[in-house]
């Protein structure tokens, strides 16, 4: 099971619930950009060149409040720092990839693709064809992000309340299905518990800094506990 086409397909398939969950957000983003008077080219340009949902929403919000460009860029940078953690987590597995492949695949490192790739690494650490699996997930996410942005831009206001359908529940249950099998040691459970409580407590911190803070805190707790366990 490691022929490229199969892995490509598998990567896309496992990303399906996350694509479904992201679709309404793309529509809302497109519609919001249109309402704000952003040109179609700029809107699609942002989705296709930046390709980072939460950063794009934050940029729109800041644009609407007439924030200065350095403020927007700095904020987007901070929001994206969690993806630095993703890339660092993957370092272990990409050491033998040619640099040009890393340069391409890095562009597509979203929450969604990281989630399914890390699930695959968790379940089949040594199965070959990771690159193709990753690419399948990446291209699926990317193309539907473009389609949903375009749809939202052209007819967003005519799809009333799509954001209220609750399709984001697909992301929630898929992430649950990815996290739970990864909870093996006591330290993993503690890490998850800390992330859960801390993320709730910090949800109103600006620009998703609560998410970053909670992740780092949870990593630190997991780390401390696993060291303790190793010492025993």
């Amino acid at each position: 099971m490691h022929r490229p086409a199969q892995q490509l397909w598998l990567g896309a398939l496992e990303t399906l619930p996350l694509v479904v969950a992201a679709f309404p957000f793309g529509i809302v983003f497109g519609a919001m950009a249109n309402t704000m008077g952003l040109g179609a080219g700029v809107t699609l340009g942002m989705s296709s060149i930046v390709f980072a949902g939460s950063s794009q929403f934050i940029a729109l919000t800041l644009l609407a409040s007439a924030a200065a460009m350095p403020v927007i860029v700095m904020t987007v940078f901070i929001v994206n720092l969690r993806q630095l953690l993703y890339a660092a987590n993957l370092m272990h597995h990409v050491g033998y990839w040619p640099q040009w492949q890393r340069a391409i695949l890095g562009f597509f490192l979203t929450d969604e693709t990281f989630a399914v790739v890390s699930d695959r690494l968790n379940r089949h650490p040594d199965e070959p064809g990771l690159r193709w699996f990753y690419l399948g997930s990446a291209l699926f996410m990317y193309s539907f992000w473009q389609i949903s942005t375009a749809l939202g831009y052209t007819l967003g206001s005519r799809i009333p309340g799509l954001a209220d359908w609750g399709l984001d529940v697909a992301m929630v249950v898929a992430f649950v299905g990815i996290v739970v099998p990864a909870l093996r040691r006591k330290a993993d459970w503690a890490c998850a518990a800390v992330a859960l409580v801390s993320a709730v407590l910090t949800h109103d911190w600006p620009h998703q800094t609560g998410l970053l803070f909670s992740s780092l805190l949870a990593v630190a707790v997991g780390m401390a506990l696993s060291r303790e366990a190793a010492d025993e």
Binding site: F107, V172, F175
Partner: protein, 104 residues
């Protein structure tokens, strides 16, 4: 404000954190404690995202029975514990959510 310049800069600060560690892989050896810490990244970040998506509704903590996202997440959690299977977990969670929507 030049919108295209903004997009270029946003793209840069988005791409660099996604790519730099990948580029350095195999060239720099991370200290072992840092490597062990990075093992916790998927659980930490994904759980934080789950918490904020399922438990925070309309900007506030919602632990009521009206929070179908949280109930679906809980159902998915139980099914995931029992099956450890991603696809079954997703289907069960979505079915739970749909049932709540339709019947309540």
């Amino acid at each position: 404000m030049n919108e295209w310049l903004l997009i270029a800069l946003m793209a840069l600060v988005t791409y660099l954190p996604r790519w730099l560690p990948l580029a350095l892989a195999g060239r720099v050896r991370l200290p072992p404690p840092l490597e062990r810490a990075l093992d916790f990244v998927p659980v930490a970040v994904l759980t934080a995202i789950i918490a904020q998506s399922a438990l925070i509704r309309n900007g506030a903590l919602d632990l009521s029975a009206n929070n179908y996202h949280a109930i679906a997440a809980l159902a998915a959690f139980v099914v995931a514990l029992l099956t450890r299977h991603l696809f079954i977990t997703v289907v069960a969670g979505l079915a739970c959510f749909a049932a709540l929507r339709v019947f309540l």
